[in-house]
Point group: C2
Chain length 357, copies 2
Amino acid sequence: MTKQVLLLPGDGIGPEIVAQAVKVLDVLNDKYNLDINMTEGLVGGAAYDVHGHPLPEATLEAALGADAILLGAVGGYQWESLDIAVRPEKGLLGIRSNLKLFANLRPAMLYPQLADASTLKPEVVSGLDILIVRELTGGIYFGQPRGIRVLENGERQGFNTYVYSESEIKRIGHVAFQAAMKRNKKVCSVDKANVLEVTELWREVMTDLAKEYPEVELSHMYVDNAAMQLVRNPKQFDVIVTGNMFGDILSDEASMLTGSIGMLPSASLDANNKGMYEPSHGSAPDIAGQDLANPLATILSAAMMIRYSLGREDLAVRVEQAVSAVLDKGLRTGDIFSVGMTRVSTSEMGDAVVEEL
Amino acid sequence: MTKQVLLLPGDGIGPEIVAQAVKVLDVLNDKYNLDINMTEGLVGGAAYDVHGHPLPEATLEAALGADAILLGAVGGYQWESLDIAVRPEKGLLGIRSNLKLFANLRPAMLYPQLADASTLKPEVVSGLDILIVRELTGGIYFGQPRGIRVLENGERQGFNTYVYSESEIKRIGHVAFQAAMKRNKKVCSVDKANVLEVTELWREVMTDLAKEYPEVELSHMYVDNAAMQLVRNPKQFDVIVTGNMFGDILSDEASMLTGSIGMLPSASLDANNKGMYEPSHGSAPDIAGQDLANPLATILSAAMMIRYSLGREDLAVRVEQAVSAVLDKGLRTGDIFSVGMTRVSTSEMGDAVVEEL
Ligand SMILES: CC(C)[C@H](C(=O)O)[C@@H](O)C(=O)O
Ligand SMILES: CC(C)[C@H](C(=O)O)[C@@H](O)C(=O)O
C-alpha cells in the first residue's frame, strides 16, 4: 500500500536541502517502486508568517496521518524575539510531543572520506561511530509548571521543571539497549545523579533495566564528565543514552567532533517506528537560499526514513552507497571542502547522488 | 592583620595536591610575609566517613570565619550509592550556598608549553584563553521543589526545578561584564531561550545589563550550539557567562579542549571577594594516594586565592611564574607528559615549584 510521507521544509536552508532529498525519493519511487506519496506542509517560522502559529492545525493533522515525516530545519533570527509559545522551534516540539516521538537517534560518525574535516586530531576521531539516544518528549523541555512569575519583592523569576517518570526512562532505555545489541553492546547512560534527584531515578531505572540485557555493558557518567570525555577520547563510546536536555547538548557536541555535521542524519521515532527524520544541523539562516548548504544529512535522513518507517532496507542501503560514492568522487559542498576536492552546490550535490542511484 | 585560610583537602587525590599548595603557601609566609594562618577541615566523603555528613557543623563554621578556602576535590566511587542529601558533593554545594559564592570563574587556557596535550589540532587551540563565568548558587542545583514522588498510577517520578530571578542574573552578569572589561571586551551569554522560559528571562536581563557596559560586545548563544562551537572554533570566545548547570557542562568541555585540565584553577567568589579556590578537575579516585596527580591546578588555585582574597597580586604573579618556570624546565606529571620531557611525581612537582619561588 502506498505510504504517505509528509515533507516539512521549514526555514532557512530547509527548503533547498529537502528539495534534494525529494529528487532522491522521486527516483526511488519511479525506478525501484518505493511506493510513497509525498505532500508538503508548513512548519516553523514559515508557518508562523502565514498562519501566526508555527504548527498550524492542518500540518499537525497531516503529520498525524502520515507514515513518516521528512523535516528540513526550523528557526532564524527574524523570529528570535517572539514568545516561546509561537517560536518556530515550537512547531518542531509540537510534532515531537503530539506524535509521541520519544526516541531520538543521532549517529555521530566520521566518514573516512572526510577524516580531515574534524578539528580533532585524526588519531582521536578516526573510525568514530557513536549513537546518541536522546529522550525527546519529556524532561525539562515539556515539564510543568513553567513560566515567568513576579515575586513578592516585585522582581521576576523564570522557572522550568525537569521531570521524568520511571516508565519514560524505561521506554527510552529499551531503545538504547536494543540498539547496542546490534552494535558494540555498550551503553553509557548520562545523568547528573550526584546533584539532581530526577537523574538519580534515571540512574536507578537504567541500572535495573540492564538486567534484562545481560550481554550489554552499562556504564554511568555525569554529564559534565561526558562533555569532557567526548573531547578527550570519543571512541570510548558506543551508545549514549540520556534525557532531552543533556541529549540536545551532547549530541551537538558529538556531531561536531566529526567535523561534518552537514553529513549527520537523525530519526525521532514513536513506539511503532513511525517517525520524523531530519538533519542534525540547524537552519543556517546566514547561507539560506544561496545553494550552498550540504544536502547530504537530509538525504541520509531520508535513508533512515526508508529503513525505519518505510521498511525498505534495500533502498536505504542504496541511498547510503550513493552518498558514499559521491564522496569518493571528491564532490564537496563548502562545509566539507578541502584542497584537491571538487566544490559543488546544494543542487549539484543532490543531482550527483541521484546519478548514483 | 593575619588572614585565615581554611584548607579542605577532601577526597581522592585532594589531600596530596593540597599538600603541595601548602608547601608553596608556607614559603610565601616565611619568605614574603604573606601573613596567613592555615587550619584544616573535613569535607566530602572524608567528612561523611567520620561524622556521617559531608559538611559537618565545625567545617561550615570554619568556612564562614575564614578569609579564603582552598579545596582539593570531593567524591569517589565508594559514596556513589549514598542519598543525594549526604553525598560528598553536598559538602561542596553546602559551602557554595552558605557562603553565597555565586560567581564561579573558570579559566580555560592553553599553556604554550603544553600545546600538544590537546586532542584538538594545534591551530584550533593555540593561544586559547577563555574565561567561563558560571552562576554557582542558583539554578537547577538549588531550585525547589525537588525530589522523587509517587504518581497516582503507582510509578515514581523524579523532579527538579530550574529557577533564576532577575537579581540573580544581574549579579552574575555584572561579574562577567567586569571581567570582560579587563580582557577582550566580549561576553557570550549562553542559554536555551528558544525552549526554556527561565533562560528567556536570562537573555532579557543580560541584554538590558549590556547597556551599562557599552564597550563590551554581548552575544547570545543556545547551549547546544555553544557545546558545538567550543569544538569547532573555541578561539571565538572571550568571556562566557551562563547558569549553574550549563556552566558545569561547558566549563568541563572547555577545560578539556586545552588537554591540560590538570593545570586549570578556579575561584568561587561572593560579593566581597571572599572565596573558595579549587582545581577544575575532580577527585580522580583511580590514581589517589599514588603520588601521580598533577598539583599545578591546585597551586594555581592558591595563586588565584592570593590575588582575589588575600590582595597580594605580587605573590600571585610570583607563583604563576614559578609554575611557568617548571614547565619550561620540562617537568611533567603523567597527565601532561610527552616524549622528551622529565616525568615527575606529585610531590616532586610541588618541590620544583617551591624551588622557583
Ligand atoms: C530547535 C530546538 C528546539 C531543538 C532542540 O533543542 O531540541 C534542536 O536544537 C534539536 O536538537 O533538535
Ligand atoms: C562535584 C559536583 C557537585 C560539582 C558540580 O557539579 O558543580 C563539580 O562537577 C564542579 O563542577 O565543581
